[in-house]
Subunit: 223 residues, 2 copies
DNA sequence: GTGCGATTGAAAACCATGTTTCAATTGGAG
DNA sequence: CTCCAATTGAAACATGGTTTTCAATCGCAC
């Protein structure tokens, strides 16, 4: 080998920089200039280590997924805890990932980009990141509503919950002009609390099987 | 004047074509090639009529706003109707605009693009399209919850409602792989009904001022 | 009919981006 | 020390997209 940095070193810097840039701008709008600028390398290094932009992107996804599996606080909750608490934990984890600065956020943001502008990486992201989280959420909703996890209505609710979380991330340019100029920690906590209460009631209304169960649970929660 | 088409004629064709393409692909990904292809003109015509891509885009927004004001079925509901009905009308109108094929949809889709990838046109869209719809929605929610339209909690709920609608449009690439391969009319109606019930309960839970009011309203609705 | 200004088409220039080339550099093996 | 393969930097190349140029066309005023 040669170079002052070493193979793994520059490869790693490229991966990190690319993960950031792809997550910020999406696949298409991300440029070599910016990636190489942050990584402190030449465009040639991308070709050398990853062949081309697409393969760099796929490698980024791969790395993001690996990191996600290593330290995921979305899926690892206590399955014996009451479902309301698990739902709140889930929402908080997704919000913090999407909006906060923590490291493993990038993959989730990248997933958000894929929603709008799908690429060849969409399938693997869906299979290995979205579906597990989605099914986990379905499980929580099932516990909360009494329906089965694979009930179509359960899935509709899971989509709605996900949509709430993603929207507050996606629409930030507009939201910042309407109400929350920036998402600092107190605002984040407020949004999590709001979203939790909002979707919990939505789930009970749409998926709850008996009005009685719903009514009592809600009163206990609101008062 | 000269040319077989005439000034207003080609200008109009360009505007229509550009509105479509911008709404489908977003500002950046839209190309002259596609716009001119659909309009049946040369790139030079864009320069001649609108100076450059940005000004074409701004003109497109202007036209979309004008058309929106002319035939808007989002804002013109019956203010004396019960708030639940008005909420359902609002959600249906937004869904159909975002997902359906009707003509004035394009501006709303364009707005959705601006959320993800803001441009110089964002401000005018917010001021003249988003804010009116948003305030209208706040009014409905206020009627529904008993809060004031400018109450922060009312606004949070309005964001959530908007988020629900926008998500089902934005995340279509993922949703099509999870549950709804395509959005035909029955699916659309189902999503509208689901969203309405979901957010109505969310609003009552988050913004409703007394648990009693909430409980009775909900039972009446669910059973 | 002639000339003029408005409009358009074809092509070229320009620019940004992804990709490739190639020579230079480096660290280790023999 | 010398050679070798791995790695990198600088610059060239190709491509696709936007903007400009310029000549050709057309309708109208005179």
């Amino acid at each position: 080998m040669a170079g002052d940095a070493g193979f793994a070193e520059t490869r790693g810097r490229l991966l990190s920089a690319a993960l950031e840039v792809f997550a910020e701008r999406g696949y298409r709008a991300a440029t070599f200039k910016e990636i190489c600028g942050r990584a402190g390398t030449n465009p040639a290094a991308i070709n050398y280590h990853f062949r081309d932009k697409l393969h760099l992107y796929l490698a980024v996804i791969e790395q993001g997924l690996a990191e996600l599996q290593r330290r995921s606080d979305i899926l690892d909750d206590d399955p014996t805890a009451p479902p309301r608490q698990r739902l709140r934990h889930f929402i908080g984890a997704v919000f913090r990932r999407l909006i906060g600065q923590e490291s493993p956020s990038a993959l989730l943001r990248l997933m958000a980009c894929e929603m709008v502008e799908p690429t060849a990486g969409l399938d693997v992201i869906i299979q290995r990141a979205f579906l597990p989280a989605f099914e986990h959420l379905c499980g929580i909703i099932a516990d909360l509503s009494g329906r089965r996890p694979d009930d179509p209505i359960t899935k509709d609710c899971a989509l709605s919950v996900f949509g709430q979380c993603v929207f507050f991330h996606h629409a930030r340019p507009i939201i910042s002009k309407i109400k929350y100029p920036k998402y600092d920690l107190p605002v984040l906590e407020h949004l999590i609390e709001h979203t939790f209460r909002f979707v919990e009631a939505g789930i009970r209304a749409v998926a709850g099987q008996e009005a009685v169960r719903f009514g009592t649970a809600q009163i206990e929660c609101t008062s």
